[in-house]
Each structure stands twice: as structure tokens, then as C-alpha cells.
Symmetry: C2
Subunit: 458 residues, 2 copies
């Protein structure tokens, strides 16, 4: 087999990169669990007809076929019945899981889910075709109190904030409320709310003038209505003043809307609570539209401060109908972190590094193959006290064994005593310091015990 | 959407089942890391031609197709070039990862890998089509010392042994050495070694008489040769006595083989070391053949004592050529735990249970929606000290809030003080005991802090 080359869109990390990813995943999991979110996993596949319920994502699905089907004479299935596809997000499978298991879940049900998802992008697009998402959602049975729309972005702020000490930049969470936009548009006399949202969502990409043209061409807006929509989208701020500015704009255009007022009250509550619980993190930004996702209340996007061009690394919102089985409706609110995108940036941008790529803090040297059992015994004693250890692969010269540790970043080499009555010794190969040590008592400093992730400059 | 039904072969767990699976995964990971194995993940897909290099697995591969390909007019690809399939084990992707990254890895390279794998079984077979495997492997560049063939099954013994306290039965690791069997067969005059191994591998399924018939019919063995192969397969034992019995059998049949002697020396070393390092766990069993896998030295299977009919839950062996790029050969030895099979048995067999299905140890009650910020502040103080907490979803009557905690198995309910100068109180809802408490100081007993997994009877 010739040396294989990477597959575009399917990121993989070397062991030290995986230390970074694992640290990110462990940190997210811990924060989610401290907030009471239960971890679940769903299967990687869903029936194709369920994956295709949202039209716009259909092009991104990977469909599965059993190779054996051909041999069985079935040929490729041409209809969709019974076909399976890989999930492209964790929301569709979670909604299905809730319906399937509703009788066994206590509502409101808070879950986190950290899994890979797949999108069948064209290979030449250079996008990730496989990546890890970390989602939190709360779903109610019948109803779901508004305060979860305040709580969930703050859980994400805390989770991402817990990564600050490894060198992850601070985050800014941009929030909006669909009711404000919808109420405002309808109050203006515009009825194609989805069309307006879709156009506004392109603001960062194509600019205000082009969006104004789109609004006129595609939603039947007058140029004055288009300007009003753009004026709304230009409002942002970290305190309740944004609410006053939206009201002033509405008054200027003769807009009156109960829906807008309800949205503004919610937005005010979110911004005010966030200012107390996570000062400086949450900013109301009236241009946040979240494309065609079926959100009905709060919507969220998250940028890394100083890396805004990376786009949103954590997005989500409120669904009045996350799932429904005909009898019962399950409203939900949730956010999803694009872990692979974040980790990829941390690694490729040289923002963080792992102190080593292997777990072992200690390499136990082997004096001769006949005394390997003595080295194994030292390793067992250290592991029994929670210290990660490798034993040298061969009884090479000690200089070679030390180089073996050095190449892996293992900070300590342990030399078992070779004479009765002599003490074992352990060497810090960074400083060269070598001291007597007892495998039943010695431990490395906490900072050396496990690989750590630190800012790249440290 | 009607209530969906589970997909056969794609297991999913309720939150308390996931607590069990997560505990198993965390325990395995910790043991692997204590032994110096670096964690990696590989992408879920490999080029189809690489997946099909081992003929017998071709029928089990799920092939991917981008739904968009149809729309692009390409139609289904009929050749295999560029096609992708889901990996059906973690060995093929690991071998590819080693070749792809050899220049960046330090050898011998020890890695663990815990991921889902997929097999496109016929749906009606009732087998898992998606399941989690946990693999450890050591791979050398050019050579790999024999002692790793002793070490690796003992790491697995320790990892599985660390699950004993939750109620996992003890394990027995059955070991054999391909050199013994091959040397013995060739010494007998049999040349179709793979054919003999394939027949012997069916011993548990079809019995000795049918295997004897197979050996005669398919490998050209005489009935005396067949009886000798079966006699070899009947030898087992936990100490070096097995080596003497194999030698006696060989002498009886006039078999002389250097290859067999080399295998016996290795097998003796493994059994003797295991008797010291993990007494009673490792048993030499000369019938272990591991089907057609390309093992060249030690082979391993693992059964749960008392649940032998479940089959092997942890198997593996030594490959002289795990990977090769033409210039360099990479020998390896590794084992793989079938985590889903193990967890499924633990849950369906009622062997273990989680103390609760949610992380939270404490539910902070909400006296009135206006005082929710006070409850949020208590929760933040407790979480800041590492205690997992939920806040009540609504300011319902306290009895209802306590029932909410009870339904989830949350052991403590916290009542924020409602008057200035009064103390908060915390109630253990199992005993009913309620005491004054300070959110800056109180902690639950360690046994209540996080969900635990315990034997079902506890």
C-alpha cells in the first residue's frame, strides 16, 4: 500500500492535536453536566425521509447502501422507503429520540450530545464533510418556560469561557428574537417574513445595498420598507437601550405590533439577565436571522472575539415545535458548538499547544530484558497511584531510552535499582536532576501528571 | 410525525443506560492512559478499495453516496474508484493512519481508539449494525518486541477488571499462538494451514465430529491427522503444563517443528508472566484460531465468566504486517473490546444500574418567578465548587418541585431563604432530613455527587 493522503473534508489530528480536542470535549462535558444536562448519544443514521423534511439540507445528505445489496440482486434502491442516511446535525436525531422515548423521559428534558455529523458537500468545496458538534437542548412537553432561552446561551458562555485559560479567545454571543423581526415586518406591511429573513441573513455576505435590491425584487418590499428592514438590522447593543431604539424606529415607520412587543420584552429580559450573570458576553444584534431554520423565538450566534471572520462557532435558538407526534408538541431551545471548526482554528492558528502528545508522565527504564519484570513492577506501583507510565520498549543503552522519552515529551525517566539495598532513581530529563525515589511514594508535580493544553506562547 | 420505532441493529440507550456506557468508556480510557496509550480518532470513512482488501468483510460494508450526485447527473457510481465506505473496524483505519502519519509518530506507537463502527448486516439478522469498539494497539516500525504480546492482554485484563466493582463479571482471557498451530499442522504434513484454522474455528459451533469431517473433506487431512488437530485444540490450561502437553502430543505424532517450538516458548512466557501479573485471568487454549484474521503470533479471546455463551467480548492478536508502505513494515499487536455488546448485556441482563440518569445532585427550588435570580445565584455558587445542579423549571408548589427532583433521582432539594437573615435549607428527599445550609460551604456526600454505576442488587 502506498502512503495514503488525507481525504479532503475529513479532519484528523495527530496525537497532540487530539489532546487539545479531548480537552475541549472534556471541558464542555463538565460544564454541561454541572448544569444538569444528561449526556445521550443517538445512532449515526436516520431514515432518509426524516432527514429530507427540511428541504434545503437535502443536498448535503450521505445516503447508505449495503454493498451486499448488489450481490443480493436488489440493485440500488430508487425510492426512499427504508433508505438510511447519515445525520447532518444532532437536532433531527434528538427530536426523533424525544418522540421515540417520551414515555421514559422526565420533562423538561435537558440533554447534551457530542457526536460527529456528516454533510455530503462537494469535495472541491474545501468544507468539513465530517465534524464534531456539541449540542445542548432543553425540551418541554407541551410548554417550555421562557427562562430557558436566557439560561442556555449562558451555559454555552460558561462552557466556552472555561476554555479561556488554554488560550481560546473570549466569545461574544449575538442574540435576537424572531418575534421582533416578524412583528416589525408585518407591522410594515410585509407578509413574506421568511423571504425577508432570508435576505437579511445575507447582509454580511453581500452588503446592505444588495440586500435592499433583494428585498424589493423578491419580497415585494418598497424601497422605503427595505430601508426600514435594514435600519432594524443595524441595531445592536449590550443593554436594554436596544429595545428603546427598536421602538423608536417602529414609531418612525408607524409600526405597531403585539408580537414585536412580546419579542422586545423577551429580548430585554435576556440582555438584562446576561449582563448580571455573564457581563460583556451577550449582545443584542437585530440582524441575526439564522437563515431558514425553524426558530420561533430567541436566536443565537457566537463569534470568537478577534476571529469574527471564522463565522459563528455556536448557534441555535428556540423552536416552538422541536417535535410533535400529533397528540403532544415538544417545544425546545438549544445551541450547537462546531467543535471541529473551533479545534481546527486553535491548532492551525497556533493558539494552543499540548504539553505532550502521550499520556505517560514517566518512562520506566529497562536495565536488561531479564529484569523487565522489575520495571513492570515499578510501573504497576506508579499506575496504582494514578500516575500514567510507559515501560521502555527495549533494554537499550540508557541514553537511547532517555532519547525515547524525550522524543515523546515524557518528562521523567525512572531507573530501577540494580543492586540489593540500592534505591531506585528518577530523572527529570528537562533539568537533568536525578534523585532517589520510591515507587510507593513518589509522584510528579501536578502540572506534569497528565498532558495539559496551554496557550501556545506558554 | 408518528411516534418513531427503533431501527433494528442500531442500539441507543436511555439517559441512565448512557450513564452506564459512559462509565465503561471513562474507565477504559483511564486504564489505557495510565498505561501510556495515546487516544486518537480516525474519520468514519475509508476508500472502498481499502475496506475491501480483506475479502470476507466485503459483504458488511456500508457504501456512501452523496444524495446530490443524482442531481448533478452523475448517477450512481458503478466503479469503486473514489467511493467511500464506513469503517467496519478500527484496525483498517489505524493501519492507514500509521502509514499516513508515520513521519510524525514516535515508534513503538501505542494508541487507544474508542469509536463507532458499522457493518451492513442484513436487517433481519438481529445483529448490531452500529456499535462502539475500544481498541488498543502497539505498532512498531520495522520490528516490535515480543513482550508487547504479553503486555497488551494484561492491559485489557486490568481495564475490564476495573469494571468489577460495578458488577461486571470476571473475565477469562483465552490465548493461543499461531506459530504453535501452524508448526504442528505442517509437522503433521498438512499444508492448507488457513483451511485447518478455519475448520478448527468452528469447533464451538458444530462440534468435534463435524470439524473432523470438514478437515478431511476440505484440507485433505487423513482421519488420523484430523484427530491430531482436534487433540491439539482440546489442550488448555492456566500454567506452563500446557506446553508440555503440546510437546507430548507432537511427539506422539512424530511432529518436529522449530516454528512450533518458537510459538510454545512465547506461549509459555505469556502464561507465566500473566500468572504473576494477573493471577487466574489468562488461560492458554489451543483451539483459539480467530478465523481468517491475519494474525501471525499470539491470538486472544475474552469471555465473561458465567456468560460464555455471549462469545468473545475482547479479541485480537499479533500481526507481523499491520501496515506496509513498500519501504517499511509496521508489525503490531492489539485487542478490541466490543463495548456495545458488553453494555447491552449489562443493561439487558440487569447486572448493573445507574444511581440516577441525570447529572444533577441538587435541584434548587424557585419560590416565585421574581426570585429566580436568587435560585440561579445559589446554583452558580454550588457549580463553582464542582456540584452539579439544576434549577426548578417553574415556581410551582414545593411539593411539585420535590416530586420533579424525585422523578429524576436528584437526591437533594435546596430552598433559598425567603426572608432577610434566614438561612437557606437543603433537604435530602430520600430521608426527608432538612438542614440549614450555606451555598458557599455545603456539599453532598461524595457518593451522591455524581451518578454512579453499581451492581443491580445494591
Amino acid at each position: 500500500m502506498a502512503r495514503p493522503t488525507p481525504l479532503s473534508g475529513f479532519p484528523e489530528w495527530l496525537p497532540d492535536g487530539r489532546v487539545v480536542e479531548q480537552h475541549v470535549l472534556d471541558t464542555l462535558r463538565r460544564t454541561f453536566e454541572l448544569h444538569g444536562f444528561a449526556g445521550i448519544e443517538t445512532r449515526a443514521v436516520e431514515p432518509l425521509d426524516q432527514l429530507l423534511r427540511k428541504g434545503e439540507t437535502s443536498k448535503e445528505v450521505y445516503v447508505l447502501r449495503r454493498l451486499q445489496e448488489d450481490a443480493e440482486g436488489g440493485g440500488a434502491q430508487t425510492d426512499r422507503a427504508g433508505q438510511l442516511g447519515l445525520h447532518f446535525d444532532l437536532t433531527v436525531p434528538f427530536a426523533r429520540y424525544v418522540l421515540e422515548n417520551a414515555g421514559h423521559l422526565a420533562f423538561p428534558f435537558q440533554r447534551y450530545q457530542i457526536q460527529k455529523v456528516w454533510r455530503g458537500e462537494r469535495p472541491q468545496d474545501g468544507r468539513f464533510r465530517e465534524f464534531v458538534q456539541a449540542d445542548i437542548d432543553v425540551v418541554g412537553s407541551g410548554d417550555l418556560p421562557y427562562h430557558y432561552e436566557v439560561d442556555l446561551p449562558l451555559v454555552m458562555a460558561e462552557a466556552l469561557g472555561a476554555l479561556r485559560d488554554i488560550g481560546v479567545p473570549p466569545v461574544r454571543i449575538l442574540v435576537n428574537n424572531r418575534r421582533v423581526a416578524e412583528g416589525f415586518y408585518r407591522g410594515l406591511g410585509l407578509t413574506d417574513v421568511d423571504g425577508v429573513l432570508r435576505s437579511i441573513d445575507k447582509l454580511d455576505k453581500i452588503g446592505a445595498d444588495a440586500v435592499a435590491d433583494l428585498l424589493v425584487a423578491e419580497t415585494g418590499a418598497t424601497s422605503e420598507q427595505a430601508r426600514a428592514c435594514l435600519a432594524l438590522a443595524s441595531i445592536s447593543g449590550g443593554d436594554a437601550g436596544v429595545v428603546d431604539r427598536v421602538r423608536a424606529l417602529a414609531a418612525e415607520h408607524g409600526v405597531e405590533s403585539e408580537l414585536m412587543e412580546q419579542g422586545l420584552a423577551e429580548l430585554r429580559q435576556l440582555v438584562e439577565a446576561a449582563a448580571v450573570r455573564a457581563p460583556g458576553v451577550v449582545v443584542a444584534d437585530l440582524k441575526i436571522a439564522r437563515g431558514l431554520d425553524y426558530y420561533t423565538g430567541s436566536v443565537y450566534e457566537t463569534v470568537l472575539v478577534g476571529h469574527e471572520q471564522l463565522g459563528s462557532i455556536c448557534s441555535g435558538g428556540r423552536y416552538d415545535t422541536l417535535a410533535s407526534d400529533g397528540n403532544q408538541t415538544y417545544p425546545g431551545v438549544g445551541l450547537s458548538i462546531g467543535v471541529s471548526r473551533l479545534v481546527s482554528r486553535l491548532l492551525s492558528g497556533g493558539l494552543v499547544r499540548a504539553t505532550r502528545g502521550v499520556p505517560a508522565a514517566v518512562l520506566v527504564a529497562v536495565t536488561a530484558e531479564e529484569t523487565r519484570p522489575a520495571s513492570d513492577a515499578v510501573a504497576a506501583a506508579l499506575r496504582g497511584r494514578g500516575i500514567p507510565v510507559e515501560v521502555a520498549p527495549s533494554a537499550a543503552k540508557f541514553g537511547k531510552q532517555i532519547r525515547h522519552a524525550d522524543r515523546r515529551g515524557i518528562p521523567y525517566v525512572w531507573f530501577p535499582a540494580t543492586e540489593d539495598g540500592a534505591a531506585d532513581q528518577v530523572k527529570d530529563i528537562r533539568s537533568g536532576e536525578q534523585v532517589d525515589a520510591d515507587a510507593a511514594a513518589w509522584a510528579p508535580p501536578a502540572a506534569d501528571l497528565w498532558p495539559r493544553v496551554v496557550p501556545a506562547g506558554d
